[in-house]
Structures are given as structure tokens and as C-alpha cells.
């Protein structure tokens, strides 16, 4: 059969399965099986056995359940409250005051948790009621939370960067380090926007809640932040310094998180098993998706679709900018219906040869794709951060999406900045020590 016909059949089959509500992981497996059947491959089952074994015993992938578990443990501690209390006195002078707490707490929590839903949920549970009590506009509180919740994807450790790294065979240590500066860039963009907004809308920011503490008191509140900052410094420092692999840093991180929970008195048998089962659910779901994606990538390789696609795109003489623009459009559309991890594994299995052919740095592309996924997290109809905030506030999803719109545009701005100055993503990883 003609390659174009096969590709079309597979695309339609995939869309049909997904739309019908077949689990993403099993859709990937089924499309792989169908593809191999179309070219009369007689070894389908054996190929599946080898790939599933290879994909699920990947040593780099062991970082995944560790980092997920770490987030689940910290989710059940007093961490969010400590962040709120520790940060508030320091931000009361900035225009926008408590709104910055949203951004910074999310940024800090993102540095210990790998998922944006976890980040938005943990921080929002704490900050949204406080902001409401202090009289901040709902729209701005929700918008800042939705926007900065997505930092969980970019600021290392990041689950989605692990998934990309494993699927595209890029060093996860380097990816993590590459995410750091763009993450900070986003934090600054968000805070800058809040300052400008607060100066323009003085009437919507409560004026009286300024509690000016003495410096001694301020330093005292900072002590609450020490354990968490220590944990972040330890995990990221050891990866950047080349002392540990990401997996080792993750294991140390879980251990540190358990210690932290123990000493703050939030660790008991119930929270321990709840965090463990929570980690099981997420890592098992992602694990099966990766098994399916590996199998699909292999099937695609047998079919030769990615190669043909790369050659065709090569013939079109697209500039890098045009190629990226088309891909962004594709990702945004996919992101409207699929979650970030599925978007990444689906595209990596087809798009990678094309990216390499165009001479795009795979490390840089990882950061780029995560930024696009971040945007899709806060666009309806399927945006996980929107769902989280919906269940936190009970507000209509379209209202939340509108509140998040300025932050969507700010992420887009960051995307453009990283396109113009690729060094924001690539400088640190190429200067780090590698173990």
C-alpha cells in the first residue's frame, strides 16, 4: 500500500480511537499494531514484548516515579502554608502585594514538584482563600494562579521533561538545567505584569493590608522557607554540579521530603500510603503511555513515515521559523484535546527526524515544546490547570480561561524571546559539568 494512504488510515484511526474515549496508552498500542499489520509484519507481538521490556526498564525513567512521589509527599505537608507565611512579609512593598505570593510560591513549589496540576492545586488551596479575604479581585487571583501553576512543567524537576528526554533520547540532567532560566524568565514576566497591572488598577488592590514587619521579624519568617529552599538547592545543585544523576537526585529528594514531612508532623501511615498510591497512579499511567509510545515509534520506523515526512518537509525549503510556526499551530490544536504528556509522546514519535533535519537543537526544542504545552494547559476546552482551578473555586471554566488569558500571552512572549535568544535555554546546560 502507498505510504500516504497508510499514513492517512493511521491518522484517522488514531483520531477515531481518541475521540471515542479509548485510553491514550492503548490507542498508541493499537495504532502501532494496525500500522505493522498494514505492511504485513509477522513479528508484531514479539516486537511489542521487546519494546515494552526495553521501555519499562529504562534506568533514566526511574527518576519519574521518584519525582512524582516527592510531589505527592510534599502536597500533604504544611509546605504551602509555610510558603505563604514566609513570603508574604517580603512582598508587601511591591505593587500587587499578595498576588506575587501566588507567582513565587508556585515557582518555588514547582522546583520540588514535577507537575503543573499539583503545583496549582497545592498553592491555590492555600492562597486563593487568603487573597479573597484580603479583598483582591477574583479574576486577577485566579489568573495569576492559572498562569504560574504552569511553571510546574518547566522548572525542574519536571515530569514532562523526563518524558521528552526519554522519548527523544536527550540527557535529562541537561534538560532540567535548560528549564531553569526560561522558568525564571516566566516568573519575572508574570511579576512584571502584576506590577504594571497593580499600578494601573489601584482601586482593585486593597491598600490596608500592609503589615510592615521589622527586619528581624522578616528574617524570622524566612526561617520557615529554609527546609524547602534547602531541598531545592540540594536536588538541583547536585544535578547541575554533576554529583548525581537525576534518578539519584530524585531518590534523595523523596527521602528529604519524607524527612521534612516527618519532622513537621504530617507524616503518618495514612498520608504515607496515600502519597504512595497517588504516585502509583500517575507513574503507572505515564509508564504505560511511554510503553505505547515506544512501540508506536518503532512501528513508525518500520513504516518509514517520519523519514518520508522529514524528506518532504526538507524539499519544501521551509525556514526554521515557518517550520516552528506550523508545529506550534499543530501542538496548540492537539493540546486543545490532549494532555501535555500525550502531545509530547505523539509528536516525538513522528516529528523528531524532521527537527533534526532542520538543524534544530533537540535540547532547545524540548524547552520550546514544554512552553507550548504550558500554553495549552490554560486554554479550553481541555486544560488541566483550568480543571484544577475550577474544582478549587467552582467558577465557570470560560471565566477562568479569560482570567488566564494575559498569562497565556506572556508565555507566548517568552516563547518568542527564547526563539530570538536561544541561549536562555541552552547556555546553562552546555556549560554544566556532566557526569
Amino acid at each position: 500500500m502507498d505510504l500516504i494512504v497508510i499514513s492517512l488510515v493511521l491518522v484517522v484511526f488514531m483520531l477515531l480511537m481518541l475521540a471515542l474515549g479509548v485510553w491514550v496508552s492503548l490507542s498508541l498500542v493499537s495504532v502501532g499494531v494496525l500500522g505493522l499489520m498494514l505492511i504485513d509484519n509477522g513479528q508484531i507481538g514479539l516486537l511489542f514484548g521487546t519494546t515494552s521490556w526495553g521501555a519499562s526498564t529504562n534506568w533514566t525513567l526511574t527518576a519519574l516515579p521518584m519525582f512524582i512521589w516527592m510531589g505527592e509527599v510534599l502536597f500533604r505537608t504544611r509546605l504551602a502554608a509555610d510558603l505563604f507565611e514566609g513570603l508574604t512579609p517580603w512582598l508587601s512593598r511591591l505593587p500587587g502585594k499578595l498576588l506575587h505570593v501566588n507567582v513565587l510560591s508556585c515557582g518555588i513549589f514547582a522546583a520540588v514538584s514535577g507537575s503543573s496540576a499539583a503545583t496549582a492545586a497545592t498553592i491555590g488551596r492555600m492562597t486563593l482563600p487568603e487573597l479573597k479575604k484580603a479583598g483582591y479581585s477574583d479574576r486577577m487571583s485566579i489568573g495569576t494562579l492559572a498562569g504560574s501553576g504552569t511553571l510546574g512543567l518547566l522548572i525542574p524537576p519536571s515530569i514532562i521533561l523526563i518524558v521528552y528526554g526519554v522519548a527523544a533520547e536527550v540527557s535529562i540532567s541537561r534538560l532540567f538545567i535548560a528549564g531553569a532560566l526560561p522558568g525564571l524568565l516566566l516568573v519575572f514576566l508574570f511579576m512584571g505584569y502584576i506590577i504594571v497591572w497593580a499600578l494601573l488598577n489601584k482601586d482593585q488592590v486593597p491598600q490596608k493590608d500592609t503589615i510592615d514587619l521589622s527586619l528581624a521579624m522578616k528574617l524570622k519568617t524566612l526561617k520557615k522557607l529554609l527546609p524547602i529552599l534547602g531541598l531545592i538547592g540540594f536536588v538541583l545543585g547536585s544535578i547541575y554540579g554533576g554529583f548525581t544523576t537525576p534518578t539519584e537526585a530524585a531518590a534523595l529528594g523523596v527521602f528529604g521530603a519524607l524527612l521534612l514531612a516527618f519532622f513537621t508532623g504530617t507524616l503518618n501511615l495514612t498520608t504515607f500510603s496515600a502519597s504512595l498510591l497517588g504516585a502509583v497512579k500517575s507513574s503507572c499511567m505515564i509508564g504505560l503511555i511511554l510503553v505505547g509510545a515506544h512501540f508506536l515509534t518503532l512501528a513508525m520506523g518500520f513504516l518509514g513515515i517520519p523519514r518520508a515526512l522529514a524528506a518532504n518537509i526538507g524539499n519544501l525549503d521551509l525556514t526554521v521559523f515557518q517550520l516552528l510556526a506550523y508545529l506550534t499551530l499543530l501542538f496548540v490544536i492537539l493540546g486543545c484535546f490532549l494532555d501535555g504528556i500525550s502531545v509530547v509522546v505523539l509528536t516525538v514519535s513522528v516529528v523528531m527526524p524532521m527537527i533534526e533535519q532542520a538543524g534544530i537543537d533537540l535540547l532547545w526544542f524540548g524547552i520550546y515544546i514544554v512552553l507550548v504545552v504550558e500554553m495549552s494547559q490554560i486554554t479550553p476546552p481541555v486544560g488541566f490547570n483550568l480543571f484544577v482551578i475550577q474544582s478549587l473555586t467552582g467558577k465557570n471554566i470560560l471565566y477562568i480561561a479569560r482570567a488566564a488569558l494575559p498569562f497565556f500571552l506572556l508565555i507566548l512572549l517568552a516563547l518568542i524571546l527564547i526563539y530570538i535568544f536561544p541561549g536562555i535555554a541552552t547556555y546553562l546546560p552546555y556549560s554544566m559539568a556532566q557526569r
Binding site: T57, S273, L338, P381
Partner: protein, 172 residues
């Protein structure tokens, strides 16, 4: 309280959790070992095998709890009858796929057993033994699908549909 079936699902979850704990312990042992000059043999291989075990052991538990993601956007507002038919088709496809996974996981284990293959690491282990969790876990997955199918034959929507509308992190 818990029925025997609930216990089985929970056992699937805890077996997977135990594998995650073993990964942590092995990796920590490797770090400590490096500091005192002792090399934990095959640490990377063992944690890899535990990862496979944790993914496959947890399949049934995750399935029943609605943990495996799918696109619910188009199906969530279907009228009850259409929804039932759609869920029946999806579950049938799921059964096919799970049978495929289960069959070839066991096939792989059986082949490793027949050829008496050993793992390639520092400590050679029989390959079939470390592959066994894939067979067992995918069997659990298949049984969970059959259980959901049984629920449908009794006229109800499967258990996983009840949990899906929730946000992944509980107690919000």
C-alpha cells in the same frame, strides 16, 4: 468494608508502591555505597526491573481508579443510552488491547524461560524471573477489564468512569 475484589485492586496498587520503595532504597544505597567506597552490584539494573514491575503491577489499580487518561471531552455529555454503547465499544477495544499485551508479555516470559536466558548485568539473574511482573501485572489489567465488562453486563457503567471527572489530586 472492603470486598475481596477491592482488596485485590489495593494489592495491585501496593505491590506497585512497594516496587517504587525498592527503587528508592536501591538508589539511596548506591549513593551511600559510593561515598564509603562500596559498589552496590547491578543497582541500575535492579531499579530498572523494579520500574517495570511498578508500572505493570499498578495497571489494574490505576485502571479501576480511572487513572489511565483518555479524551472524555466528546463523550461526557452523551445521553445515557449512547454513553452506554460508546463505553461498551471502548471497553471491547480495551479488552482486545489488554489481551494482546497480556499474551505477548507471557510469551516473552516463556521464551526467556525456555532459552534459560540470564540478565546481562553484574549479577546474572534468570531473565524470566525479573520479567514475571509484566506477565502478572498485565493479567491483572486484563482481569480488571473483564471485571468492568461484567459490570456493564449487569447494566451499570464501569467503576473507572466514576473517578474520571475528579482532579488527579484528591481532597481539594
Amino acid at each position: 468494608m472492603y470486598s475481596y475484589k477491592d482488596r485485590l485492586y489495593l494489592a495491585s496498587g501496593y505491590l506497585s508502591g512497594l516496587s517504587i520503595i525498592i527503587i528508592m532504597v536501591v538508589v539511596l544505597a548506591q549513593i551511600v555505597g559510593r561515598m564509603i567506597g562500596y559498589i552496590v552490584p547491578s543497582a541500575e539494573d535492579i531499579s530498572g526491573y523494579c520500574l517495570a514491575a511498578s508500572i505493570f503491577f499498578g495497571l489494574a489499580y490505576t485502571f479501576r481508579d480511572g487513572g489511565h487518561i483518555r479524551v472524555t471531552l466528546l463523550i461526557q455529555n452523551l445521553p445515557p443510552k449512547a454513553r452506554f454503547v460508546q463505553e461498551f465499544i471502548v471497553l471491547s477495544i480495551g479488552l482486545l488491547a489488554a489481551s494482546f499485551i497480556c499474551w505477548y508479555s507471557w510469551y516473552m516470559v516463556w521464551e526467556s524461560y525456555m532459552f534459560e536466558e540470564l540478565t546481562q548485568g553484574y549479577i546474572p539473574m534468570p531473565l524470566w524471573a525479573v520479567q514475571l511482573p509484566l506477565g502478572l501485572g498485565s493479567t491483572g489489567f486484563l482481569l480488571a477489564m473483564l471485571d468492568a465488562m461484567a459490570t456493564m453486563f449487569r447494566g451499570g457503567l464501569p467503576n473507572y468512569t466514576h473517578h474520571e471527572d475528579q482532579v488527579p489530586l484528591e481532597d481539594l
